[in-house]
């Protein structure tokens, strides 16, 4: 058993290194740039469109994504510093899902997966290394997006004349850290589900059609008429995690459900990759 684990770990290490070499291409910069741009855009929208009101309002009753439904009172609180960043989590989640799903299905479409498996036949190790690098890249991209988001939020808040003094307190830092951690957990979930769906379906159009159609419009449409959807459907669950909980799904149950979805998706990806023939 320990020999197998050692072998997988060694394979994962090599896979991580190889994926790191592959990162130096334009698509990586484009994806990271888009993530940052989406985060900044959502921040600008959240801060500039916030309704005047006290800190207790805006609890998702506005019809739009709950992260966008905030008041100036909420923005001025210490946690306001992370509101814009969290508000865009649905979009960053969608982007991460798209990028990861496209990347893995292109490995099938371009035939590069067989080239990789000829050099590294321990498929689980390869998958582990690739996922580790993907998560690291997501983490780094989110840090960059967070920094830009805070800068954009401060700028727009100044233009709107909002009081942001509470942002720069210890509570503000804690809100920022927890906002980042939640966004990271959510993005990791989207990334792993995107990988699993791509490995299972092996086709870029099919993966995007199934994944995007289900996790984004369909889940949200069902969620509008059934509050339980936010606690059960993966896309909504990851959304709830990224925002630290929403009215229809508290944080702790959403986190548990999100972790369960992520582990299940990882298991599906591992099983499909290890068992199925590579014919492309």
């Amino acid at each position: 058993m320990s020999i197998v684990l050692t072998s997988i770990a060694s394979s994962a290490r090599r896979s991580f290194g190889a994926e790191l070499v592959k990162l130096w291409r334009p698509s990586t910069a484009v994806a990271m740039g888009l993530l940052a741009a989406l985060s900044v855009l959502s921040t600008v929208l959240v801060v500039s469109l916030a309704d005047d009101g006290p800190s207790g309002g805006g609890s998702g009753s506005g019809g739009g994504p709950s992260g966008f439904d905030v008041t100036t009172g909420q923005l001025s609180a210490a946690a306001g510093i992370a509101r814009g960043f969290a508000g865009g989590s649905t979009f960053t989640g969608l982007l991460i899902f798209l990028v990861v799903a496209i990347a893995i299905t292109l490995e099938y479409g371009q035939g590069t997966l067989r080239t990789l498996f000829l050099r590294e036949p321990r498929r689980l190790g390869w998958l582990a290394g690739r996922m580790a690098l993907t998560l690291l890249l997501i983490a780094a991209s989110l840090i960059a997006a967070l920094v830009l988001s805070v800068a954009a939020a401060a700028l727009v808040a100044r233009i709107r004349g909002l009081d942001t003094s509470a942002w720069w307190s210890a509570a503000g830092t804690r809100a920022l850290a927890s906002g980042y951690l939640n966004a990271l957990l959510s993005a990791a979930g989207f990334g792993v589900v995107g990988t699993a769906l791509g490995v299972a379906l092996r086709s870029t159009p099919l993966t995007l059609a199934v994944g995007v159609a289900w996790m984004f419009p369909l889940e949200h449409i069902i969620g509008d008429s059934w509050s339980g959807a936010a606690r059960i459907f993966p896309g909504l669950v990851f959304d709830a995690v990224s925002q630290g909980g929403v009215p229809d799904a508290r944080y702790a149950p959403a986190l548990l459900a999100g972790i369960a979805y992520t582990l299940a998706a990882a298991a599906v990806a591992a099983l499909a990759l290890a068992r199925r023939d590579v014919n492309s």
Binding site: S7, S10, R14, S15, G17, A18, E19, L20, V21, K22, W24, R25, P26, S27, Q110, G111, T112, R114, T115, L116, F117, L118, R119, E120, P121, R122, W126, R275, D277, V278, N279
Partner: protein
């Protein structure tokens, strides 16, 4: 790294792959000696690529077992580090440079980081892409892409090189370059005396190369071992020259005077060599009974002496051998007939 034993590079029995009710590869027994350049031929859909994929761990066999480079077929991780392969079209990352493509694969193969750059440069040089290493893969011509993919296969200096249709889509110059490259890969690390001298034993070399191709002329020029498959079954395997030596050799005889054709035919009949009269007053004998080139020369000399003793002067004695394509066609037709017979 070179092979050091006389164990076959590939030795598998009953290799089978079924997709639902369709059998793509049907109980294939393959033995490929270490050090040969082996040609793997068969019509489209004969099961060549599926067989190669099974040997390379990409496709799980439905049945059969054996060894590749001495390691069990079911444990590709044990032998793939010593195998380089190009399966179907060259599949590398279009937006990465040739150099970075190779570097990624070198790291994945476990080549120490400190050695990656030197190894990549050596490979680029070997496949003639030293000046284009910084260019993106997608900017390469098909021939360059093929060469880079072969370079990727050579990264670990493999004992066994598997190339699936490496000349596909190449122009004549590209095909010639590829042929020379494959020949040089097979010739590298010479362990023995090199060229085949017409005997049944294949030339012994350090690296085993298995080349799948539908271009028989290419196979004939570069391969000393031949495997023919049809309908997922083995039709022939063995030295290429044994296959060619086992055929009948027609000989065309042309006497100086057309009126000598009939006496010459009687003379040949007396020697037990049947003949037919062709157009332009030539005779074609069927099978002079030679098993190799030396016997063939002796047989021709006997015929010539006999003709001269009867006062018949021959102005042409030319062999008309089957080409590899003729032999291949015969094998495939025979295999197809056996398959149909088995189905009945």
């Amino acid at each position: 790294m070179t092979a050091t034993t006389n164990e076959p590079a590939i030795d598998v029995r009953g290799l089978t792959k079924r997709y639902g009710r369709r059998t793509a590869v049907d109980g294939l027994d393959l033995t490929i000696p270490t050090g040969v350049v082996a040609g793997f031929v068969g019509p489209n859909g004969a099961g060549k690529t599926t067989t190669l994929r099974m040997l390379l761990g990409l496709v799980r066999p439905s049945g059969g077992d054996g060894t590749v480079l001495g390691a069990p077929l079911g444990a590709p991780a044990a032998y793939l580090p010593r195998v380089g392969a190009l399966i179907e079209s060259p599949a590398l990352y279009p937006t990465l440079s040739g150099r970075r493509n190779l570097a990624a694969l070198a790291v994945l193969a476990g080549i120490p980081r400190a050695e990656v750059d030197a190894r990549v440069e050596a490979i680029l040089d070997q496949v003639g892409l030293a000046g284009r290493g910084a260019d993106r893969f997608r900017s390469y011509s098909l021939g360059m892409k093929q060469r880079l993919a072969i370079g990727a296969a050579l990264l670990t200096d493999p004992d066994l090189l598997v190339l699936d249709e490496p000349t596909n889509g190449l122009d004549p110059i590209g095909i010639r370059e590829m042929r020379e490259l494959i020949r040089s890969l097979g010739d590298g690390d010479s362990l023995g005396d090199g060229d085949s001298d017409g005997s049944a034993e294949p030339a012994r070399r350090g690296r085993t190369v298995l080349v799948s191709s539908h271009l028989l002329a290419e196979v004939e020029q570069i391969c000393d071992w031949l495997i023919v498959v049809e309908g997922g079954r083995l039709a022939y395997q063995g030295p290429t020259d044994r296959l060619m030596a086992s055929q009948s050799i027609d000989v065309v005889l042309r006497p100086e005077h057309p009126e000598d054709v009939a006496p010459l035919a009687d003379l040949l009949a007396g020697l037990g060599l049947p003949s037919t009269r062709g157009v332009d007053d030539v005779l074609t004998t069927v099978n002079v009974g030679a098993r190799d080139s030396r016997e063939y020369t002796r047989a021709l000399a006997s015929v010539n002496r006999a003709a001269a003793s009867r006062g018949v002067t021959l102005i042409e004695m030319s062999p008309r051998r089957d080409s590899l394509e003729d032999r291949y066609q015969g094998l495939v037709t025979q295999a197809q007939a056996q398959t149909q017979e088995a189905r009945r």
